[in-house]
């Protein structure tokens, strides 16, 4: 058995389209699957909560990456769109009695629609100007969420009941573990769906808009339609993440969806790798765990430098900023590229390339 893939040899388009072809690739996926199943058996509730948060963030990051990394449009409105998804699903389930499954679908569709509306400026604006225009969407949505009493019935927050899907309800004792399984399955599906988009014509037209919009229009890509579709698809994922966030945390208020959140999601896709589905997941995990790791570091260094522990929030911000700068300078293509380089190193070993 050949240990490594020596080249790409295919006898049919079918085999070329397969995502994993070689034995090592398949072995790697099997090992990954086993690890993912073992995670809830190993970690305690505190870590599981973080893992679950990272999974939800992954879905949101995939969504944002479709827009920013693959289509080359920028969005600072992520927080706002998450809020649309979260509030829609929460209100549909809690106040209108819609089954959770359908209310989540409703949230996805509504967020996609809202995203398409706020994507309209992208038809005229590019780059920095578009960033400011989408910043407006963040502000407008959060303003509406804060001021429209219907949404929170004047309380300022919505209490969401415990998840119950098709007669199955989450147990209190195994809350994190059961959520983990649900979120894992949804995240994997979301990653597959996103991958599929980018191996067909629609996804390619998004990337064409990113790389050369004039050439794209000359080969028949309708820029208006491509950009608006990209906003819709992207925000569908974001809406899903928002809805899951609402059901998972069981309480939502506007403070969870501020501009900081938008910036954090942008950081995720920069760290993870723009234009990569897997990178979105790496980035989401990285940014979710970063503050925790920072806190652990501060605790460890507490004896030497007590200021770090006293000024923990400032320290966290500094590490966050530093990470982004380091990635932008050293590896703009993010964690995904680093992982690919590791794989290449082993594939070509003992040669350099």
């Amino acid at each position: 058995m050949a240990a490594v893939q020596t080249g790409r040899y295919h006898r049919s388009y079918n085999s070329e389209f397969r995502l994993w072809n070689t034995t090592p690739q398949i072995t790697r996926m099997v090992i990954l699957a086993i690890v993912l199943v073992l995670i809830p058996l190993v970690f305690d509730n505190y870590w599981m909560a973080l893992v679950n948060t990272a999974l939800i963030a992954s879905i949101g990051a995939i969504g944002l990456n479709i827009l920013v990394g693959f289509t080359g449009q920028i969005s600072l409105g992520q927080g706002g769109f998450l809020a649309v998804g979260a509030f829609t699903s929460a209100i549909l389930t809690d106040r209108m009695g819609v089954p959770v499954f359908f209310s989540i679908i409703g949230a996805v569709l509504l967020t996609a629609a809202v995203g398409m509306i706020f994507g309209l400026p992208a038809l005229r604006l590019k780059g920095l100007y578009l960033a400011i225009a989408t910043l407006a969407s963040q502000m407008v949505i959060i303003f509406i969420v804060r001021r429209w009493d219907f949404l929170t019935e004047g309380q300022g927050f919505v209490d969401v009941m415990r998840l119950e899907v098709f007669g199955f309800s989450i147990e209190r004792a195994n809350f994190e573990q059961q959520w983990y399984m649900i979120l894992l399955v949804i995240t994997i599906i979301a990653a597959f769906v996103a991958t599929n988009i980018f191996r067909t014509g629609v996804g390619r037209s998004f990337m064409a808009v990113r790389d050369q919009d004039i050439a794209a229009s000359a080969i028949g890509v309708n820029l208006t339609r491509a950009k608006i579709t990209a906003f819709g698809v992207s925000n569908g994922f974001v809406g899903l993440a928002g809805a899951l966030m609402a059901h998972y945390t069981e309480i939502i208020s506007w403070e969870r969806f501020t501009l900081d959140v938008s910036i954090q999601y942008l950081a995720m896709i920069i760290v993870g790798g723009l234009g990569s589905v897997a990178g979105s997941i790496y980035g989401a995990a990285f940014i979710t765990f970063l503050p925790v790791l920072t806190r652990m570091l501060a605790d460890e260094l507490g004896g030497v430098a007590p200021t770090l522990r006293q000024q923990l929030p400032a320290f966290e911000h500094a590490i966050f900023g530093l990470t982004i700068i380091v990635f932008l300078i050293l590896e703009p293509k993010g964690l995904n590229r680093i992982w690919e380089r590791i794989k290449e190193y082993f594939r070509y070993w003992p040669f350099r390339y």
Binding site: T200, G201, V202, R204, A218, I219, V221
Partner: protein
């Protein structure tokens, strides 16, 4: 296609015959036009283009006949690229009409670029405008965009119609790759390829559209003699094997005179000569524009 014979020889012969058929099938598979050769395909009448006070084009009249290689030449700034941009919809002409015979009475001068593309007008750019981060294959597959169903829901599911469509489109794309000898670059990102190859990929992307009219804006700019000869050969192949109508902008006179059926000369946005290469070379106005007025 499966052959009934099960010995190696029968299969090999059938394979060879199938390939022969496919080679001959270029005749119509890459050309989107069904007009007989010699019929006018593109008719530009009284086209004018202004940028503020600058008259880029003034009352340009031009007819491109089906099945010809039609070159547009002229000194720098004569308006050649502007003319091409008007046809492909990137510039909005100030006045005049552009008619494509295969698309009835639609005036190309009033359509946005993607609608012009959908009518079967493909083009390459003077400065290469490829999708840098995508592979050669993806770039040429994007050339199929107008022939592809773009339903995001179908794409998300992948299995079934989306995958079938990819395979179906891929077959024609492979023909283009074969014709332009791009096999070895298939999976490389175009940004990393040599200039000459990039130019060829751009030609391939335009060809994959199965256009009825192919506009090439200086496909040989910045190439050495050998690369120019290669490119000229590819253009001739496209013209002869696929029967495509080509409008070509080029500065290299020897190439233009060699491969063109018809030449139009522009100077200061006006047509100053039109005819076969020999007629144009003998035209005193053209000689004046290129060499300056004689005493």
């Amino acid at each position: 296609m499966k052959t009934p014979g099960n010995d190696v020889w029968t299969v090999a012969v059938a394979d060879y015959e199938e390939k022969l058929v496919r080679t001959r099938a270029y005749q119509h598979s890459l050309s989107g036009s069904t007009l007989p050769p010699g019929e006018p395909l593109l008719e530009i009448s009284d086209l004018s283009l202004r940028f503020g006070g600058v008259k880029a084009l003034t009352d340009v009249n031009l007819t491109v006949e089906t099945g010809t290689i039609h070159s547009i030449i002229g000194p720098n700034g004569a308006g050649k690229s502007s003319l091409l941009n008007c046809v492909s919809g990137l510039y909005k002409a100030t006045a005049g009409q552009i008619l494509l015979q295969t698309s009835g009475t639609k005036d190309l001068a009033k359509l946005p670029p993607h609608k012009v593309a959908r009518l079967g007008v493909a083009r390459s750019f003077q400065n290469i405008e490829l999708f840098d981060q995508l592979s050669v294959l993806d770039n040429i597959m994007l050339g199929r965009h107008i022939h592809i169903k773009k339903d995001p829901f179908m794409a998300m599911f992948w299995f079934g119609p989306a995958k079938r469509q990819e395979i179906r489109q891929r077959e024609l794309v492979e023909e283009v790759i074969h014709l332009l000898k791009l096999q070895q670059y298939r999976n490389q990102p175009v940004g990393a390829l040599a200039y000459g190859i990039q130019k060829r990929v751009e030609l391939g992307r335009a060809l994959a559209m199965q256009p009825s009219l192919l506009l090439l804006d200086e496909p040989m700019a910045g190439m050495n003699v050998e690369e120019k000869e290669d490119m000229a050969r590819y253009i001739l192949d496209i013209h002869e094997l696929a029967g495509l109508t080509v409008v070509l902008i080029e500065h290299d006179m020897s190439v233009v005179m060699d491969i063109s059926n018809r030449v139009t000369v522009l100077d200061f946005g006006k047509v100053i000569g039109d005819g076969t290469p020999e007629e144009v070379m003998a035209n005193p106005k053209v000689i004046e524009a290129y060499l300056g007025a004689g005493e």
